[in-house]
């Protein structure tokens, strides 16, 4: 008896819905050719949330073929019409905000009221923003030669493979799908094997909005199998990946099979710098939200905090008190909870191992540093918000990405010193600077090696503003107008108006 293509779910908040399990190809949910499936685990209870069909190489091939066939007609659809479809998707997210937020919380461990529903708002904003761009993708006319009409058109790349992570399943899907579709591409998107459920539910919204069959294809599967097949596929024109730096390297290599375009959003170990003249109360709050949101599972989390020696002790005292008070831990459907469980057992164990490393390396533990086994929480993958202080530059917990609610804090005495610390890792994703000095703010922002710098805030991202990293944090920028350029290519057309041989 093979797995049914859908099953009913009732969530702890009372929401009920039908969860699809198939691979979404050509606007239909289908079984994997081999019948292979994978389980998705509830991070709060360790139980199986559901089983879904799992794509292997042959399924990826079917999806790519569907996308390629759809591209022929999709290329002819006007930007105005693409914008209308994207707006319909935004409308649908808006109409079901509570339910979709609940599904996202249920499968990812995000707390629903304090976290997941805001991700849904971000999805809406992202689809609306790129819907507005769809009819505004313009080439240039280059007027240097009266005997030639030279112009560029910004054409879509074609079939785009997209691989997204588990930390923001729907938001990451929105960041990938919206610009790609606005620019006229067709997509095959693979979700993370840890969080396959929410996007399968949402897939139907694309069909309902009127996207033709084959334009949007969504598959569940493992990175090593389906991800590999997609990134090395000879008929895929571009691969876009968000995930770990280690996997990013593999994807870039696999893409060499047909020289497909590659964009990568990888890891980070973003520094947050607090100077002597900073507004300390604000710095404390932003430094908390910058690492404890989403259980610290954010690529741009400001996971290293450097505080000027003159305010170091005061900061640590206020910071510890603030995190303890404001970052309540609880399950996804606990409306007061800010910090939920880590997404999986593997992630939880990885974070715990870094905590042990930190203790061994001699960092001072100010808060947390262990599992949270209180009552019901013992069933899930909970880690207490953790603060390490008195770090030294060579510590592993200072240089390696932990991806959990664990922050490391150190002191500095001069701007030159802290800029060196900021730039010491292999990463360069985000950075935050707290100061009132305009000169220092702008010059430090210019000197720090990062794709994004926040001055007097942290993780204050916005769909209008480009997002991405330098060094081992990635290649390319998503979001903003820049986000369109990674989904188009310029074709230059020369019309001879009189150059005769």
């Amino acid at each position: 008896m093979s797995l049914p293509l859908e099953y009913s779910v009732t969530l702890p908040d009372g929401n009920t819905f039908t969860q699809p399990t198939g691979l979404f190809i050509n606007n239909e949910f289908v079984k994997s050719v081999s019948g292979k499936t994978l389980d998705s685990i509830n991070p709060s209870t360790s139980e199986v949330n559901g089983t879904v069909y799992c794509a292997e190489e042959e399924d990826v091939d079917i999806a790519v073929k569907a996308a390629r066939a759809a591209f022929k007609d999709w290329k002819k659809v006007t930007g105005v019409d693409r914008g209308i479809l994207l707006n319909k998707v935004a409308d649908a997210f808006e109409a079901q905000r509570d339910l979709i937020g609940a599904i996202e919380a249920w499968d990812s461990g995000k707390t629903k009221e304090q976290n997941a529903v805001y991700d849904i708002d971000e999805c809406i904003s992202c689809f609306r923003y790129f819907a507005g761009w769809a009819d505004k993708i313009q080439g240039k006319v280059i007027q240097n030669d009266p005997k030639k009409l030279a112009y560029t058109i910004h054409e879509p790349l074609g079939v785009c493979g997209q691989i997204i992570p588990w930390n923001y399943p729907l938001a990451m899907a929105a960041w990938k799908l919206a610009p790609a579709l606005a620019a006229g591409n067709v997509v095959v998107l693979k979700t993370s094997e840890i969080t396959p459920l929410s996007l399968l539910y949402v897939a139907r919204l694309f069909k309902d909005a009127g996207f033709p069959a084959g334009v949007v294809n969504i598959i569940s599967g493992f990175g090593a199998v389906a991800g590999k097949a997609l990134s090395s596929h000879l008929d895929v024109d571009k691969i876009a990946f968000t995930g770990s730096t280690a996997t990013g390297k593999l994807i870039q290599q696999a893409a060499a099979s047909n020289l497909k375009a590659v964009t990568l959003e990888c890891g980070g170990k973003s520094p947050l710098i607090i100077r002597e003249d900073a507004d300390l109360e604000q710095a404390v709050k932003w430094a908390a939200i910058g690492i404890m949101s989403n259980q610290g599972q954010i690529c741009t989390s400001t996971s290293r905090v450097y505080v000027h020696e003159s305010v170091y002790d005061k900061f640590l005292e206020e910071y510890t008190a603030h995190v303890k008070e404001a970052y309540k831990q609880g399950s996804m459907f606990d409306s007061e909870a800010v910090v939920g469980p880590q997404v999986s057992k593997v992630q939880r164990d990885k974070v715990l191992s870094y905590i042990e490393i930190g203790k061994k390396e001699g960092a001072r533990l100010l808060l947390g540093g262990e599992k949270n086994s209180e009552g019901e929480l013992s069933k899930g993958f909970y880690i207490k918000p953790t603060i390490f202080a008195d770090i030294k530059p060579e510590m592993r917990i200072v240089n390696e990405e932990i991806f959990g609610p664990v922050v490391v804090v150190g002191k500095f005495s001069s701007d030159e010193e802290v800029i060196t610390y900021a730039n010491q890792t292999q990463y360069g994703l985000g950075a935050a600077i707290f100061t009132k000095d305009i000169t220092v703010a702008h010059t430090m922002a210019a000197e720090i090696q990062a794709g994004m710098v926040w001055i007097n805030s942290s993780n204050d991202s916005d769909v209008h503003i480009p997002f991405g990293g330098v060094k081992m944090s990635g290649v390319g920028r998503e979001l903003g107008e820049y986000g369109l350029s990674i989904y188009t290519q310029a074709k230059a057309i020369h019309v001879n108006l009189g150059n005769k041989l």
Binding site: I84, G132, W133, D135, K136, T439, T443, L497
Partner: protein
């Protein structure tokens, strides 16, 4: 008994709708302070449709106060996606009310339903395009070295005055209001006195779409008593006008004499429509017809001077004559009517006078040349041949379904003829030769060149005139320039 603020109007299709009659200020329909009203007439029946309230200078003052307060509210400083939402909702509402709007337009302007339905669709499409721009207005960061951080910002200009014509009442309202709503400006918009109705209906949709009070104010009134106070108002920072070149001149003067408010103008035209020997005859004829008979020729960019290369002249003239004579003219509410009525007695008289001048100047009437019927302001599609370049009917804008047709020999000759005009709004080029198309387009002094098409608009393509056809561009990304101003911020980074 004063005029009610809402009047039921029965449409020829049997439905009745509520027509607002007041001045729309601060999201409310109000009586004019003087309580004065004026009537608007249906051009296809010559009967009065309804009275509406008439704005005078004191009402303009009230509207400007409302717009000023609204500009200083969070409207222009809050998240642009708020404005995006209003514009998308407005477009959706226009789609919902499309049928009513098309009927109001045909009733008040006289144009056929065929034309007014197209206007309504373009109106919704333009608001939708503007919605997408709201959060994409950007400045630049300019590198001048380590000592400074320089950036530019594009900021909304502020309170605008907008004066629109009677030939596309609803569509012209959208070209003006779209960028205002998009950029965070606020406005006082005055409709043409002969076509006040559709913009008032639109105003109620703008309120329903969520525009805060005072952002959009719509008043009905006459040029000298309501338009003039707008162009010279000390608190209006920018005036946008579409209409005749003569009035445009007054407005620019008044703007300069009052407070140097910014001015954009969409004025008249006498656009050349050029047919080369190698043109595709069948489709060219369609574009010649659209060029001058669409919207009964009451189009600023009408292709009102046709130039045909000698090799194809006779064929084109004969087929164009046949096409003109087979156009359906009459009751705007009949599904297959192409040409409705001219918009007013005044316009009718003006066009008939030019037809008379043409005959006296010695031009040949190839077809038409007279009124159609004796009720309603209908004129037969009119083609004049055997004209000379210095004839008045070749030089002056007639603004009706009257076109001149002239033979030419060479490319150089026709480019000179095309450019011999004080206007420069649009031009048409019909050819199957790519080089001809591009090099002729590059040489004609007009703001829009249509190649193998005509009167063919899209929200993303800018429109506006060279020379005395105007200043500035509407639609496209360029429209945003008219409603924003650039601020440069240069920060000294002292070490």
């Amino acid at each position: 008994m004063s005029l009610p603020l809402f009047v039921p109007i029965k449409l020829p299709n049997g439905t009745t709708y509520e027509q607002p009659t007041g001045l729309f200020i601060n999201n409310e329909f109000v009586q004019s302070k003087s309580k004065k009203t004026f009537g608007t007439v249906s051009p296809s029946t010559e009967e009065e449709i309804t009275q509406v309230y008439e704005a005078f200078s004191e009402d303009i003052d009230d509207a400007v106060e409302a717009a000023t307060a609204a500009f200083h509210s969070s409207w222009s400083t809050s998240d642009p996606q708020v404005r995006m939402k209003v514009l998308y909702k407005l477009a959706d509402l226009i789609d919902e009310h499309a049928d009513t709007l098309a009927h109001i337009e045909a009733l008040d302007n006289g144009k056929s339903l065929m034309c007014s339905k197209g206007d309504v669709a373009l109106t919704a499409a333009y608001f939708r395009s503007c919605a997408g721009w709201t959060d994409k207005i950007k400045g630049s960061v300019i590198e001048t070295g380590d000592t400074h951080f320089n950036y530019t910002r594009r900021e909304p200009i502020g309170v605008c005055g907008q004066i629109i014509p009677w030939n596309f009442p609803l569509l012209m309202a959208s070209w003006k209001l779209g960028p205002v709503l998009c950029t965070g400006c606020t406005t006082v918009l005055k409709t043409a006195e002969s076509t006040p109705l559709s913009a008032l209906y639109l105003a109620s949709l703008i309120k329903e779409a969520g525009a805060p009070p005072g952002v959009v104010n719509v008043v009905s009134g006459f040029g000298p008593t309501a338009g003039a106070p707008i162009s010279s108002h000390p608190k209006i920072k920018k005036v946008a006008f579409t209409g005749s070149t003569a009035t445009g001149r007054h407005i620019m003067k008044a703007a300069a004499e009052s407070n140097l408010k910014k001015v954009t103008l969409e004025l008249g035209g006498k656009s050349p429509n050029i047919v080369f020997d190698d043109a595709d005859v069948k489709s060219t004829i369609q574009h010649l017809v659209t060029g001058i008979f669409y919207n009964t020729g009451e189009v600023c960019c009408a292709g009102s001077r046709i130039y045909v290369q000698e090799g194809i002249y006779d064929k084109i003239v004969s087929e164009f004559k046949n096409a003109a004579e087979s156009l359906k003219i009459g009751d705007p509410f009949k599904e297959d009517t192409f040409m409705g009525a001219q918009t007013s007695q005044l316009q009718l008289d003006k066009i008939l006078k030019y037809i008379d001048i043409g005959k006296k100047e010695g031009a040949t009437v190839i077809t038409g040349g007279e009124r159609f019927g004796n009720k309603g302001y209908f004129i037969k599609p009119t083609i004049f041949g055997d004209v000379k370049e210095d004839h008045q009917i070749v030089r002056d804008e007639i603004f009706g379904p009257v076109v001149t047709i002239t033979k030419f020999k060479t490319v150089e000759e026709v480019i000179a003829l095309a450019n011999d005009s004080e206007y420069g709004l649009a031009a048409g080029v019909h050819t199957t030769n790519l080089s001809t198309a591009i090099s002729v387009s590059n040489k004609i002094n007009s703001g829009t060149i249509w190649v193998n098409t005509y009167n063919d608009f899209h929200p993303m393509v800018p429109f506006g005139g060279y020379s005395q056809s105007g200043i500035g561009r509407e639609m496209g990304e360029e429209a945003l320039d008219n409603y924003t101003q650039v601020k440069a911020v240069r920060i000294g980074l002292s070490q």
